[in-house]
Amino acid sequence: MSEPTHDSTSTSLDVPPSEEGLLESLEHMDAAERAEHDAAVSASVAPARDFAVAQGETLLAVDGLTVRFGGLTALDDVTFDVKRGEILGLIGPNGAGKTTCFNIMTGVYRPTAGDVRLEGQSLARMKRYRIIQAGVARTFQNIRLFGAMTALENVVVGTDARHRTSVPGALLRLPRHRREERDAVEKAMALLEFVGIADRAADKATALPYGYQRRLEIARALATEPKLLCLDEPAAGFSATEKDALSELILKIRDDGYTVVIVEHDMRVVLGVTDRLVVLDFGRKIADGLPDEVRRDPAVISAYLGGAVEDAPAGAGEEDA
C-alpha cells in the first residue's frame, strides 16, 4: 500500500488545544510532543494527497448530465467541473437535484444521458464500489452508519477500499492481512482523531451523539482515501457552534489535500467554506461562480425567494475559482 508521504508541512496541523472531542491524553502533552503527534496523525490521515499536481486542474467533470425518473426530469443537461483542491458548494432549493447529482457521482443512479468523469475516467457505468476505489467518497443526508459496529470499526470498513487481502489470506492470517489490519486500525484511529471523536472510538455507532455520528461518517469516507469527498448536508440538524466546528473541519480536510463537494442548505456554512458555487434549480444549473457573484445573481435570488424571472440565463459563466 502507499507509504504515507510524511509531509508535515500541511497547514492543518495546528490543532488548537481546546478543540472539542480531542483525546484527553493530548492535554498532557507538551507542545513539541503534540506537534509530533499531529504530524503523525496527519500523515496517516492523508497519505493520498497529491501535491505534485497543480491545484485548479479539473478533477471531476459533470458533462451534460440528465436524469429522468419516468416523466420526472431530476437533472437536465447539467454541466460543471470540480477543480482539484477546491471546496465546491452545490446548492439550490429543495428538489433542485443536488442529492440526485451526488447519487450519480457515486453510482447510486445511472444517468439517462451525459457523463461524469473522474480524471477523464467515466463513472457512469462503473460499479459502485469501483467508483469509491477510483476516489469518490460520500456521506449521506440521513446518517447511514453501521450501527452494531464501534466507531473505530466503522472507519476500518472504509479502509477496505484499499485492502488487497484475499479471503484465504484472512482465513489463514497471512502476513499481508496482518499488515493491512494493523495499518487500518492505526489509520482509523488517526482519522477519528482528525475529525475529533477519538475519545469515543470504542462506542457503538448508535450510541454516539448526533454530531459525532456526522463526523464519523466523514471519517469513514476519508478512510477510503478519496480524491473527491462528497458531503451531503453535513450540517443538517447542527447548532450554530457545531456548524462552526464543522466548517473548520471541512476547511481542514481541504487543506489536507482533498477536494470537497458539499451540498448544504445552511448559507453560513456554504459561504463560510466554499471556494465556488454551482446552483441548481428544478434540475438545471442556473449559476456557477464565486460565492459573492452567485449571491448577487438575479436568477439565484429568484430561485430562492420565488420570482418572475423565467428561464434564467444558464450559468453565470464558466470562470474558475
Binding site: 496523525v41 464500489y129 449521506f140 453501521f146 477496505d160 488517526a190 482523531e193
Partner: protein, 389 residues
C-alpha cells in the same frame, strides 16, 4: 438474565487471551469427556444413546456455525441450508458407498475436502444469480434451492431416492483393545471428532470475523448500500458468505453420513432447514457461542425429554415466539469483534486515558477480542498511533 449474561461477558472480555485459553481448554476437555462421564440427569439414556445424542448435537452445532455466517453475520436469510448438508452427505455417499455408480471407495479424509469444495461450488452457483436479490426474495429462492436438492435426491436415478446408499466410508483407527474408534454403534469417536472439528472451524471463523471479510459481512447486514458506497465489494463478499457457509454445511453432511453410514432422501426436507434456522435464532444470530447453545438445545432437548416428533415443532414454535417477545436478539445477543488488532487499539486508547470514564471502559472491553484466537497477536507492543508501518 440479560444482566447476568452481560456480567459474564464483561468479565470474560477483561481477561487476557492466555487466561481465556486457560479457561477454554478445560471446558473443551469437559465436553470431550461428557459421553464417558455419562452424568445422571444430563444423560439422554435410556431413551437415546448418550454419545449418539451428543454427536447429533455436535453436528447440529457445526451446521449452526455455518448457517450463522450466512444469516447471523451477512444477514442473508437462507431457508435452504439443508441443501448444502445434503450435498455434503451425498458427495460422501457417491464417493465411497458400494451402491454408488461411480464405483470408487475413497477414504473419509479424502472425501471431506472434496465434499467441501463441491458444496462451496454449489453455494457459488446458488449465490451468483440469487444474491442480487434481497430480504424476502432471497429467502424464497433459497427455500426453492433446498427443495430442488431434495427433489433431485428423490428423482435422479443415480441418487437412489429412498433406497439410499449403504456403507459410507468412515475414518479409520482403533482403540488399544482393537475396537474401531469410529463406528456406527458407538458414536464416542465421532463425537470427539465433531468437537475437534468445531473447535478448528471456530478458530477459522474467528479469523474471518476479525478481518475485512467479517467486517464486510456485518456491514452488508447493517446497511448494504452504505457498505457498497464505502468501497466494500458487497456482492463478492455475499457470495463468499454463501460459499463458506455452504462448505461448513457440506463438512457437517460428510460427518453425519460417515457416522450413520447410510444416506437416503428422507432427512433433507424444509422443516429440517427451519430447525437449523431455529437453532441460530434461538441461540443468538451473530454469536458463535450462542448458535452452538441454540443448536444444542434444539438437538438435545427432544432427545432428553423424548418428544414425539410432531411435538418437537410445537415446542420450538412456542419457544421461539416466547423468545421473540422477551429476548428478540436470542439467548446470547449478537457479539462481534471485527478487528484483528482491535484489542490493542482500544487498550491503547483507554490506557492513555487511564481509568477515566468507566462507561467508556466497559464499552471498550465489550468490543475487545474474545476466544478463540488462532494465532497470538504478535504486535502487542507496536508504537502508538502514527503514520505508516
Amino acid at each position: 438474565m440479560r444482566t447476568r449474561f452481560a456480567t459474564v461477558s464483561h468479565w470474560w472480555n477483561r481477561q487476557s487471551r492466555p487466561v481465556q485459553w486457560a479457561y477454554m481448554v478445560p471446558v473443551v476437555l469437559f465436553l470431550l469427556a461428557l459421553p464417558v462421564l455419562n452424568p445422571p440427569i444430563i444423560t439422554t439414556e435410556p431413551y437415546t444413546d448418550f454419545p449418539i445424542s451428543l454427536f447429533n448435537a455436535a453436528v447440529f452445532a457445526l451446521i449452526a456455525i455455518g448457517l450463522n455466517v450466512v444469516i447471523g453475520q451477512a444477514g442473508l436469510l437462507d431457508l435452504g441450508y439443508v441443501g448444502f448438508f445434503a450435498i455434503g452427505a451425498y458427495t460422501a455417499a457417491l464417493l465411497s458407498s458400494p451402491d454408488s455408480e461411480l464405483g470408487v471407495r475413497y477414504p473419509w479424509l479424502v472425501i471431506v475436502p472434496i465434499a467441501m469444495v463441491v458444496t462451496m461450488i454449489s453455494g457459488v452457483i446458488l449465490g451468483t444469480p440469487t444474491l442480487r436479490l434481497r430480504g424476502d426474495y432471497l429467502a424464497i429462492v433459497t427455500l426453492g434451492f433446498g427443495e430442488i436438492v431434495r427433489l433431485l435426491a428423490d428423482n435422479v436415478d443415480p441418487l437412489r431416492g429412498n433406497r439410499g446408499f449403504q456403507n459410507i466410508a468412515r475414518p479409520g483407527g482403533e482403540f488399544a483393545d482393537g475396537t474401531p474408534i469410529f463406528s456406527q454403534t458407538d458414536a464416542l469417536g465421532f463425537y470427539w471428532l465433531a468437537v475437534i472439528i468445531i473447535v478448528i472451524v471456530l478458530l477459522f471463523m474467528g479469523n474471518l470475523e476479525r478481518s475485512r471479510v467479517g467486517r464486510a459481512w456485518i456491514a452488508v447486514r447493517e446497511d448494504e448500500d452504505a457498505a457498497e458506497l464505502s468501497g466494500v465489494p458487497t456482492y463478492r463478499f455475499k457470495i463468499w458468505a454463501f460459499a463458506i457457509g455452504a462448505a461448513v454445511g457440506g463438512l457437517s453432511g460428510t460427518l453425519f453420513a460417515a457416522q450413520v453410514g447410510y444416506v437416503n432422501n428422507q432427512r433433507f426436507d424444509v422443516t429440517t432447514s427451519i430447525l437449523y434456522l431455529a437453532a441460530v435464532v434461538l441461540g443468538g444470530q451473530g454469536n458463535k457461542v450462542g448458535v452452538i447453545v441454540g443448536a444444542f438445545i434444539v438437538s438435545y432437548i427432544p432427545d432428553r425429554f423424548q418428544f414425539e416428533p410432531q411435538y418437537r415443532f410445537l415446542v420450538f414454535g412456542i419457544a421461539l415466539i416466547v423468545l421473540m417477545i422477551f429476548r428478540p436478539q436470542g439467548l446470547l445477543g449478537m457479539r462481534q469483534h471485527l478487528l484483528t488488532y482491535g484489542r490493542q487499539a482500544y487498550q491503547k486508547l483507554f490506557g492513555a486515558r487511564a481509568a477515566v470514564a468507566p462507561s467508556g471502559l466497559s464499552a471498550s472491553s465489550r468490543a475487545r477480542g474474545d476466544l478463540p484466537e488462532a494465532v497470538p497477536d504478535d504486535h502487542a507492543g507496536t508504537s502508538p498511533r502514527g503514520g505508516g508501518e
